[in-house]
Symmetry: C2
Subunit: 331 residues, 2 copies
C-alpha cells in the first residue's frame, strides 16, 4: 500500500500510448480507436488507477462538490432535527445522482462563518446551498457576493436565488379553511419576525382576513411550544370571544392546544386551531392537529436542481412550492 498511487503517465506507459490518449479514454471521449481504448482500460484495471482529483480540478477549475451550509446553532429548535435530517439526506442523494458530492458545513459561530467563506472562495466547491432561516444571518449576503452559484432553502433576507414553500399561500389556505367553516374571530400566533417564513405566514394570515374584511388579532411567539401557550393565553385575555386561531407552526399550535384546554375551551367546538408544518407529532395531539404541510423533499430537490443549473439557463431564480391543507380534528 505505502507506494504511490499510479498516475496517468504510468497507465500510458503500460498501454503504450500517450498521456493524452489515456485522459481521453478515462474521460469518455469518443475519438479513440476501440482497440486502443480497450488496451487503456486494461492497463487502468491492472494498475488500479484512479484519477487524482486535485490535479484534475486544478486544471478544470471544478470540484464536483457542492457545499450545504447549515447556519443554525445546533439543535436550536427541537423540531428542526427531522427537517435537518431529511434535507441533508435528500440533498445528498440528489446530488449523488448528478455525480456531485455534498460537503456539509456548519456555520453556527462567527469563526465558522469565516471558515465557510474561505472554504468557498478557495474554490473547494462549485456551488453553495444555504440552510439558514434568520434574517440577521450575514452569510447569505456574503455568499451572494462570491462568484460561486449560491441558492437558499427558504427565502433569505437578501437577494439570492432560492426555493421556498408558499408560506403566504399556505397561511391563506389555513385561514380560508377557518373562514369557510364559519369561524368569525380568527386570531394568529405569529413566529419570530426576523425569519422570513414567519413574516410570510403572517402576511398570508393578514391577506386572507383582509380579503374577507375581518379584523386581525396577532400575538407573537418564537416557534417554541411554550411561546405558543403564552401567546394563546394573551390572545384569550385580549379577545375572549375568539373562535379560531392560526399558529405559524405546529409546535406553537400544540402549545395553544394546551393553553386552550387549561382555559376550559374545547377544540374544535369552541376554538378551532390550525398549525403549520405538519410535524410528526401533529397526528398525535389531542385532538389531532389540522395543519399546512409543505413539501420538504421536493423543496430540497428543487434547490439542488437550481444550484446545478447555470444561472444563464435557469427559468427562474425563485421557485415557490405549493402547500397542502391537512384537515384533522382541530379545525
Amino acid at each position: 500500500m505505502g507506494s504511490r498511487r499510479p498516475t496517468l503517465e504510468a497507465v500510458a506507459a503500460r498501454a503504450r500510448v500517450s498521456r493524452a490518449t489515456v485522459s481521453r479514454v478515462v474521460n469518455g471521449q469518443s475519438t479513440v480507436d476501440p482497440e486502443i481504448r480497450d488496451a487503456v482500460l486494461r492497463a487502468v484495471a491492472e494498475l488500479g488507477y484512479v484519477p487524482n482529483s486535485a490535479a484534475r480540478s486544478l486544471v478544470t477549475r471544478q470540484t464536483d462538490s457542492i457545499a450545504l451550509v447549515v447556519s443554525e446553532p445546533p439543535t436550536r429548535v427541537f423540531s428542526d432535527d427531522p427537517l435537518f435530517s431529511l434535507v441533508v439526506r435528500t440533498v445528498s442523494s440528489e446530488l449523488e445522482l448528478a455525480g456531485k458530492q455534498a460537503v456539509l458545513m456548519l456555520a453556527s459561530s462567527p469563526q465558522a462563518q469565516a471558515r465557510v467563506e474561505d472554504y468557498v472562495s478557495s474554490g473547494h466547491v462549485d456551488g453553495v446551498m444555504l440552510l439558514s432561516m434568520h434574517g440577521a444571518d450575514p452569510l447569505p449576503g456574503a455568499v451572494a457576493r462570491m462568484d460561486v452559484p449560491a441558492v437558499s432553502y427558504g427565502r433569505p433576507a437578501v437577494e439570492l436565488p432560492h426555493v421556498d414553500n408558499d408560506n403566504v399561500g399556505g397561511a391563506e389556505q389555513a385561514v380560508r379553511h377557518l373562514l369557510d367553516s364559519g369561524r368569525r374571530r380568527i386570531a394568529a400566533i405569529a413566529g419570530p419576525q426576523d425569519m422570513t417564513a414567519a413574516q410570510d405566514r403572517l402576511t398570508g394570515y393578514r391577506d386572507a382576513l383582509r380579503a374577507s374584511d375581518r379584523r386581525s388579532i396577532v400575538a407573537v411567539g418564537d416557534f417554541t411550544r411554550a411561546s405558543g401557550a403564552t401567546a394563546m393565553r394573551h390572545l384569550l385575555e385580549d379577545d375572549p370571544g375568539l373562535d379560531a386561531v392560526f399558529a405559524a407552526n405546529d409546535l406553537m399550535a400544540v402549545g395553544a392546544l394546551q393553553a386552550l384546554r387549561k382555559a376550559g375551551r374545547r377544540v374544535p367546538d369552541d376554538v378551532a386551531v390550525v398549525g403549520f408544518d405538519d410535524i410528526e407529532a401533529a397526528d398525535f395531539t389531542d385532538p389531532p392537529l389540522t395543519t399546512i404541510r409543505h413539501p420538504v423533499v421536493e423543496q430540497a430537490t428543487a434547490m439542488v436542481r437550481l444550484v446545478l443549473t447555470p444561472p444563464a439557463e435557469r427559468a427562474s431564480d425563485r421557485v415557490v412550492l405549493p402547500t397542502e391543507l391537512i384537515v384533522r380534528d382541530s379545525a
Copy 2:
C-alpha cells in the same frame, strides 16, 4: 467578479517579492522579515487573495477534509434520526476545531458505495469515518483496505479502528439492576443479530445472567417498536412467570410496555422493564423507562480524534466508552 481570482504570483508581484516568500507568509512560517511579511499581508488583503486549494493539495497530498460515510438506507429506523443528526453535528463541529472539513456521503445503494470508494481513493479526503451498523455492509471491509485512515462509529464486523460504547457492559448493568432489585426471571428482547451492537447487548445480558446462575430467555426483535411488542407477547406465552425484561433498545422497550399493559401486567410491579439508548421518548412513556444511556457526543468526538491521529501515534485502535444506568420508574 467574472475575472480570475488572484494567484500567489499576483500577490508576489504586488508585494515585490518572490512567490516563495508569499507562500511562506501565507503558511505562517517564521523565517520572514516582519517588514516584508507586512507588505505581503497588505498585498493579500488588497487583492483579496485566497489560496487555491486544488493546487495546494496537489503538492501537499492532503485535502483537509474527512469523509463521514453513512451507510444506512435513509430513515430506516425512525429513532436513528436524532442520532444521525447529533453525530453529524458533533463530528462536523469537532472537525472544524481541527481545521478540517466534514464531507458527508450517503452510501445506501451499491452504486453509492462504489462512488464512495472512488471518491476516497481518488484522494479527495484524508480520512474516513464510517457510520454503519450492519454486519453485512461491505464498506468497512473495502475502506479498511485503502491507504487512508478509517475509523468506525460503533464496532464494525471487520477489523477496523473504532469507537464504541460499552454495549456488553451496559447490558450487564441493566440486568444487574434487575437482579439487585430482586427479579428472578429476566427475559431479553434482543436486536437484529446482524448488528454488532445487538450482538453485544445480548452477550452482556447472557453474561450477567450466567454470573448469577440464572437461565436466559430470549426473543429476537428488529429494533422497532412493533417487534418489541410481538417479542414481549411471545415471551409471555413461553414463560408466564417472568418478572423482568431487558430490551436491547428503547423502541422495543416501548413496544414491550404496550404489550405488557395489554396483557394486564403492571410495570414495574409485575414485570420490570429496562431499555437501552435513552431516547427522548423514554422520559414520556408510562411509566417512564429505566434505560441505559450511552454517550453519543463523546463517542463522536472520540471518533474524530481517532481518525485525526496518525496510526503510529495512537494509544489504541479501539475506544470503548462507558454507559450509564438511568433509573426511572419502569424498573
